[in-house]
């Protein structure tokens, strides 16, 4: 039987002698209440740290699959990324494709009380994860709330500031998505 892409059995390890928790024995974790996470203020430092965190787990998927191969489907991304975020308690993640746009929909208790700090954390983690899959660097922007969850757009870092502007201008996620076209780049 083929080993699943995301193995929850060895995902989190608790070392009581060292008083440490780690995921897959590499990145150190700390269990903190959600309230501590929600108290985070958005900053570039937080975003960078979240991107590094996401890259770590994106590389694990890249080690398992050859994303350039023709037989690697989108399902590999959904199962591994979704399982990773669920194990961290960051919610239930699903992938939505709008035309050519790649969207992530996050649902769960944390995302129902999402703050700007948590939003930056999610954006940085997803961007770092996708960037670890290939040579392209990705940026992720929260579009807004949609049917009980939060939609995150993932794409070119050059386009990300524009989208952020429209979100700040009060555009709905669908309005923003409708203005996306395939560019020359």
């Amino acid at each position: 039987m083929e080993k699943p892409l995301f193995d929850a059995s060895s995902f989190v390890k608790i070392d009581l002698t060292k008083g440490a928790i780690s995921s897959s024995g590499k990145d150190r974790l700390v269990m903190v209440p959600i309230s501590v996470l929600q108290s985070l203020r958005p900053s570039d430092t937080l975003r960078t740290a979240a991107m590094d965190w996401g890259k770590l787990h994106g590389r694990r998927l890249a080690e398992r699959v050859d994303q350039t191969a023709e037989n690697t489907s989108l399902e590999a991304l959904s199962s591994h990324l979704g399982g990773t975020l669920a194990a961290f308690g960051l919610g239930r993640l699903s992938i939505e494709i709008h035309g050519s746009a790649l969207l992530f929909k996050a649902e769960g208790d944390l995302n129902s009380r999402i703050t700007d700090g948590v939003s930056v954390l999610m954006e940085g983690f997803l961007a770092g994860y996708l960037s670890a899959l290939g040579s392209d660097t990705f940026k992720v922007v929260r579009l807004g709330e949609a049917s009980g969850g939060w939609l995150f757009w993932a794409g070119n870092p050059r386009v990300a500031p524009k989208i952020r502007q429209r979100v700040s201008a009060g555009r709905t996620p669908m309005e923003i998505l409708n203005t996306l076209v395939t560019g020359e780049n």
């Binding site: 699943p4 995301f6 193995d7 929850a8 059995s9 060895s10 989190v12 390890k13 608790i14 070392d15 009581l16 002698t17 060292k18 699959v65 994303q67 350039t68 191969a69 023709e70 690697t72 489907s73 989108l74 399902e75 590999a76 991304l77 959904s78 199962s79 591994h80 979704g82 399982g83 669920a86 239930r92 993640l93 699903s94 992938i95 939505e96 494709i97 709008h98 035309g99 050519s100 746009a101 790649l102 929909k105 996708l130 899959l133 290939g134 392209d136 990705f138 993932a154 794409g155 070119n156 050059r158 386009v159 524009k162 923003i176 203005t179 996306l180 076209v181 395939t182 560019g183 020359e184």
Partner: protein
Amino acid sequence: MLTTEERKNRLEELLVRVRSNRSHLEKQRSEGGSLQELSTVRPVPDRVAMPAEELSQLPSQSPEPEELSALPSKSPEPAIIPQMRERSDDEIATVVPETSVMQGLMQDSMPESIEPEPVPVEPKPVAVEPEPVPVEPEPIEPAPPRKPKLKAEFDIPSPQLPEEPEEPSTAKLDAASIPASHDLEEYRKSLQAPDPLETPERKKETGAELPPMTEPPPIAVSSIPPTDVKAADAVRETPKRDFQPRIEASGEVAVVRGETPLQWTLRAVLERAWKLDLKE
């Protein structure tokens, strides 16, 4: 029945007679030889030679049977058996079997071998009547009445059955969650009705009918220090299911609009997403 005093007197009288007989015997023996000489005589193995005259005198010296019966069961000292002495060849000796002679002699010296007259002894009926022991039962002090406080502590209150059966769980539903414009029956039907958006065609199209994920095995808790008992026990006592994150949906892929991206590879999805730009 003889009284005790009479029996005692008679016993003494018998003792006197026995002693006189013995002294008489000793006197006769002293005439024939010393006791020392007589004691050295070796009897014939099977037959004992005894003078006829002595033999004839033996019965007369034995005590009367009725007197013997009155003797105590044990004589104070054994009677001296008449000894034999060597006789010259001219003396006539009567040869008697040793056993009969000895038995006769033994009758003189061993009165205990003589069966005493059976004395009819009627056992007195012993009326054993137990003395009435006055047993007066000790007055038992009545136990002190239980304190009401203790009684209240140990009495388990009987469960009180509800007078009316519990309402079904549906009655606990939040009334606010039920739309006011629908009655209960319609509301139940709406709950059971499938999601209109989740049509089989849509599931097939969007790929929502993905194979169910395998149940994730429990997360291994490694490196538990064997010496740290408290920490190890704290982990072991925790039910395993607490360490089993249930991933109900690790990820879904939904296509809102567009072509058939499920046939796209991961690479294709990332490339197309990265090439997108906003219209001015």
